[in-house]
Symmetry: C2
Subunit: 220 residues, 2 copies
């Protein structure tokens, strides 16, 4: 299956700006993208980066669409009915009548987690993110469309119901962990295994173990 | 399998004290305990509450051990080698050479998530919590012991390795979500289905949808 990975290269991960400079955020976002693409490939699926501006990645197709996330993804989903859609060309993006969408900051994604997503039954499969977001989707229904604004998990369930899709929810800690905020960096250090974790460690981040949940500290 | 659910009735959920009074926290903690016990039972397993003081619950055995979490759980695990241990009596707690431990604040637990935990292979099975904790365990190795202080997920993996146990990690958003902090209440409203969600709604809590992740508000 094609797995579309939306990627915004400009000012990425702004909620990490307390802890990382802009150039560091760009580098870290690239490391997370790499981990997501690697997990998709190792799961036997075909990643394609849906980027807001040209980006160079190895082993993945890149299509540029400078629109916001929701219309850019919906242009992909519009291909499920066999039409050409109104977005940039995606060769065979909806082959076999299905396409997945996975966020580029799922730094804990593993091949097994991607397989659980892709193998789940349902004409719409949702992996919720912490805080009401939608971190990954499989869409097999030609009328389903996304709306990433606000608590999108609820909205996507509602939209799926409205078009008559059968919904399955994937219960994955790894797919629920999008890396947006400083506390999320601890999850990467704890559970990540790829470029993202390596990048953080090389940048001097370590776990900071206090009484309750762990955080991160950065060496001076 | 017996699933031991440690429960501290005194001053529970202190990190929610900004949003809930002490008596509310006690009631909410009880609602979460009920949901955890229900999920375990519906999964076909036998819950037993390991409480710091006497507590009345229906459909579950209760054993009182007023020691802190780590020694109280280790007294249970000591039964895996067939001995009587040094803790209060648990009838057949380690029958078939296995026992599970699940925290009482896993308000999103479902029978399916409990089944995935119980069915995972490995002589030690771990469901990590957000922030480095250990939310649920299955122990089938007589020498494994817990240490819940600090980043227990890492410590439990290390301890398992030291005693030669094979470790499996369960990738579950539901089991990773222990409800400790106000932001966790949003997860209960979004994904909970039992007493905990009902209690929060009756107490006036609603989702508060801002730009990024959702939070909660409480009606005056």
């Amino acid at each position: 299956m094609r797995v579309v990975v939306p990627y915004a290269g400009r000012d990425p991960k702004s909620r990490l700006s307390e802890r990382l400079t802009e150039s560091e955020r760009r580098a870290f976002a690239r490391a997370m993208l790499r981990d997501v693409l690697d997990a998709i490939e190792a799961a036997g699926h075909d990643p394609v980066v849906l980027a807001t501006e040209p980006v160079s990645v190895s082993d993945a197709d890149v299509v540029v669409d400078d629109r916001p996330l929701t219309p850019a993804v919906n242009a992909v989903l519009a291909r499920l009915d066999g039409s050409d859609g109104d977005g940039p060309a995606f060769a065979d993006v909806a082959r076999d009548g299905e396409v997945a969408v996975a966020m580029a900051d799922l730094a804990l994604a593993t091949p097994e987690a991607v397989r659980r997503l892709a193998d789940a039954e349902g004409t719409v499969v949702v992996a919720p993110g912490r805080g009401g977001g939608t971190n990954a989707l499989v869409v097999r229904h030609p009328e389903f469309r996304v709306d990433y604004h606000g608590a999108s998990y609820r909205d996507h369930r509602r939209i799926a119901e409205e078009v008559g899709a059968s919904v399955r929810v994937v219960d994955s800690m790894r797919l629920s962990t999008d890396v947006d905020e400083p506390s999320d960096l601890a999850e990467v250090l704890l559970h990540g295994g790829g470029e993202s974790r390596r990048w953080l460690r090389e940048a001097g981040f370590e776990l900071n173990i206090r009484g309750g949940r762990v955080g991160v500290v950065r060496e001076a």
